[in-house]
């Protein structure tokens, strides 16, 4: 086993991996940029090294600087987390050249699966059903011609895509020019590759994915599915396991297809094979995510398998600690992603200072987070600041727990997706399991503006009393006892007044 690992990431996922290291008795090191000196992962790690200015390409994406840091610190392996260098084949190759173990799949599998068109060809050859569309990258003119052949609506996708970047749903030809421009520009900045391809748009699709673990000997298991249909901008917001659509037979079929695709690509480590499922429960291969995923905790909650630790064991050349027969799914888990975004304003980013935070706890509640009271959420990186994961005996109990935990969860100073989750956990369509990937654009947009009048009155009344106390109380004796103020809150408020972020 490794003695020291470098975690080349930040925020909640860095903390998650650092925790696994600590449990395994492995010394941990991490990296940080200018803006992240005060970040949680820096404090949590045993060692932390500066790798450059705030923009990601000068720090967290700086391959040579990270390799050099790992070597200087004497790390035998690097865990890239998700995002940043997680699916960067060049980085995996450089690790190998320098004799550092990349905790993830082999570089050949990253290259193959990183190209969505190669992945589609590989999956089809392995016998997986794929969505109708093109198997090669296209020029602007070809896109227009092919889209007519396939028939609108179509999905325009980045060949190097992932995380919804460089992806556009195009309803008709008049939208195509603008969609191509935006998709190419986004793909260029996210993946440094602006090539695009086309897929037929599946109506009312559900997003169901299969978690797999494969060791270097090729022994593999599937850990069941996650349903990730609640998405905004083609990025997941809520995930759960199991999916309400799943049957034991369908799960076995999908799990075996997933392992077949992985073997065809020479894959090892943890990975996720994504599928779209139509209204008739027909599933189509979508892509392989060659990394640890944001939503891995829902699978950990229902299977009891620590996916990060398995990844580390596999990377160290160890055997899988479980066989397929050991995998038993128990109960139901739901993850609510906490983004620094305004759900009532098209999920626009809301970076800034967290001036107050109270975390939920109690039975069946897990919080993975990268922030704390007083933390600054920078605008340079991904908006995810944490995840709430709940477990219940069944879906009903999991939803009730999520609702209860969300009512305890307080984050102040920036806007977050917490009020969005509160609404979804009360929505009859979500509760009945009758929803698809269009949920946010159709169902949520309608409830967006709704306020609970009862709470509005209390909010209005209390703010007026507060204002009255601020205006009047200093001049007379305060009728209300005020306790000492937390220095973090004062700091946060000062910062906020200075930056004007609110």
């Amino acid at each position: 086993m490794f003695r020291k690992i470098l975690v080349a990431n930040r925020s909640e996922i860095a903390v998650r991996i650092l925790r696994a290291c600590r449990e395994m008795g492995i010394t941990s090191a991490t990296v940080y940029s200018d803006v992240d000196r005060d970040a949680l992962h820096v404090r949590y790690a045993d060692e932390a090294y500066y790798v450059g200015p705030s923009p990601a390409r000068e720090s967290y994406l700086n391959i040579e600087r990270i390799i050099e840091t790992a070597k200087k610190a004497g790390c035998e392996a690097i865990h890239p987390g998700y995002g940043f260098l997680a699916e960067n084949a060049e980085f995996a190759a450089r690790c190998q050249e320098e004799g550092i173990v990349f905790i993830g799949p082999p570089k050949e599998a990253i290259v193959a699966m990183g190209s969505k068109t190669v992945a589609r060809r590989t999956a089809r050859a392995a016998g997986a059903p794929v969505i109708p569309g093109t198997l090669e990258p296209l020029s602007d003119e070809e896109i227009v011609t092919k889209a007519r052949e396939i028939g609108y609506p179509v999905m325009l996708k980045a060949v190097s895509g992932g995380g919804g970047k460089g992806m556009r749903l195009v309803e008709n030809e008049s939208e195509m020019a603008s969609a191509i421009r935006m998709a190419r520009s986004e793909a260029k900045s996210a993946f440094n590759d602006d090539s695009l391809y086309l897929e037929k748009y599946i109506e009312n699709p559900r997003h169901v994915e299969m978690q797999i673990l494969v060791d270097k000997e090729g022994r593999g298991v599937y850990l069941g599915e996650r349903e990730c249909s609640i998405q905004r901008r083609h990025q997941k917001v809520i995930e759960e396991s199991p999916s309400v659509l799943m049957t034991e037979g369908l799960r076995r079929e999908m799990g075996e297809v997933a392992l077949k695709v992985a073997r065809a690509a020479g894959y090892y480590s943890a990975g996720t094979v994504e599928f779209l499922m139509d209204a008739n429960r027909r599933f189509y291969f979508l892509e392989v995510n060659t990394r640890l995923q944001v939503e891995h905790p829902v699978t950990e909650m229902v299977t009891g398998v620590d996916i990060v630790k398995e990844m580390i064991r596999i990377a160290a050349g160890g055997d899988l600690s479980i066989s397929q027969d050991d995998v038993q799914m128990r109960g139901h888990a739901i993850e609510c992603r906490i983004y620094a975004e305004d759900p009532f304003n098209n999920f626009l980013p809301s970076p800034g200072t967290i001036i107050g935070m109270r975390l939920p706890d109690g039975p069946g509640v897990r919080v993975d987070r990268g922030v704390f009271e007083g933390a600054v959420v920078p605008m340079e990186y991904d908006p995810i600041i944490g995840k709430l994961i709940v477990w219940g005996r069944d879906r009903v109990e999991a939803v009730e727990r999520a609702r209860r935990a969300l009512s305890e969860f307080v984050i102040k100073g920036i806007k977050t997706t917490i009020p969005f989750h509160v609404r979804v956990m009360e929505n009859p369509l979500f509760l009945s399991g009758d929803f698809d990937t269009t949920f946010i654009d159709t169902v949520f947009k309608k409830m967006e503006g709704e306020r609970v009048p009862r709470l509005m009155d209390i909010a209005l009344g209390t703010v007026a009393v507060h204002k009255y106390l601020e205006d009047v109380a200093p001049k007379t004796a305060s009728p209300v006892q005020v306790h000492a103020e937390s220095p973090w809150r004062l700091y946060g408020r000062k910062l906020q007044l200075r930056t004007g972020l609110w």
Binding site: E341, E380, P383, K412, K467
Partner: protein
């Protein structure tokens, strides 16, 4: 004391009267017709425990200056601007005299200017893309609100802007 409050996302104003009745209790009258009797305890700077007819509420009230408050209750965020009635009246008179600028394209979020697609003096059509801004890895296209001419471009590519910054000013046509 009487206040005028506006809640973000709700167009109408609310008139809120606060009358202290002793022992941390307040009579609050909303819009002249709704009366609440609130038992209010403040904990630390910003946490309130409020009892109303035996119902218990926990609220966070955080001030950002200029009568702007963020109120959090039961997972709901309310962004409330509250001012005493007299001040509000004064400000509204001053505001009318100053007039309101039109054709300003502003950003609700901070971010980095990825691309500026127009120049000063250029004619633009409604919905024509003007500026692309990136924050938290997401690109946002800002479009012309109306037909017109670009009066000024306030930002440069690569520049970082704060929330509510003016990006481009359009002189509306006609």
């Amino acid at each position: 004391m009487t206040y005028i409050a506006t809640i973000e996302g709700i167009s109408e104003e609310h008139r809120v009267e606060v009358i202290p009745v002793g022992d941390d209790k307040f009579r609050v009258i909303i819009n002249g017709n709704q009366e609440l009797l609130l038992d209010v305890r403040r904990h630390g700077c910003c946490v309130y425990s409020v009892l109303k007819d035996g119902q218990s509420y926990e609220l966070d009230v955080d001030g950002g200056g200029d009568g702007e408050y963020s109120v959090l209750v039961g997972g709901e965020h309310f962004h409330i601007n509250i001012m005493d009635e007299m001040k509000k009246k004064l400000l509204s008179i001053l505001g009318e005299a100053a007039g309101v600028a039109t054709g300003e394209v502003t950003t609700a979020m901070p971010g980095m200017v990825v691309r500026v697609l127009v120049q000063e003096g250029e004619k633009v059509e409604k919905d024509q893309p003007l500026v692309i801004l990136e924050a938290m890895k997401m690109e946002n296209e800002f479009k012309a609100p109306c037909d017109g001419v670009v009066k000024s471009v306030k930002v440069k590519e690569g520049e970082t802007v704060e929330a509510n910054a003016v990006l481009v000013v359009i002189e509306p046509a006609g």
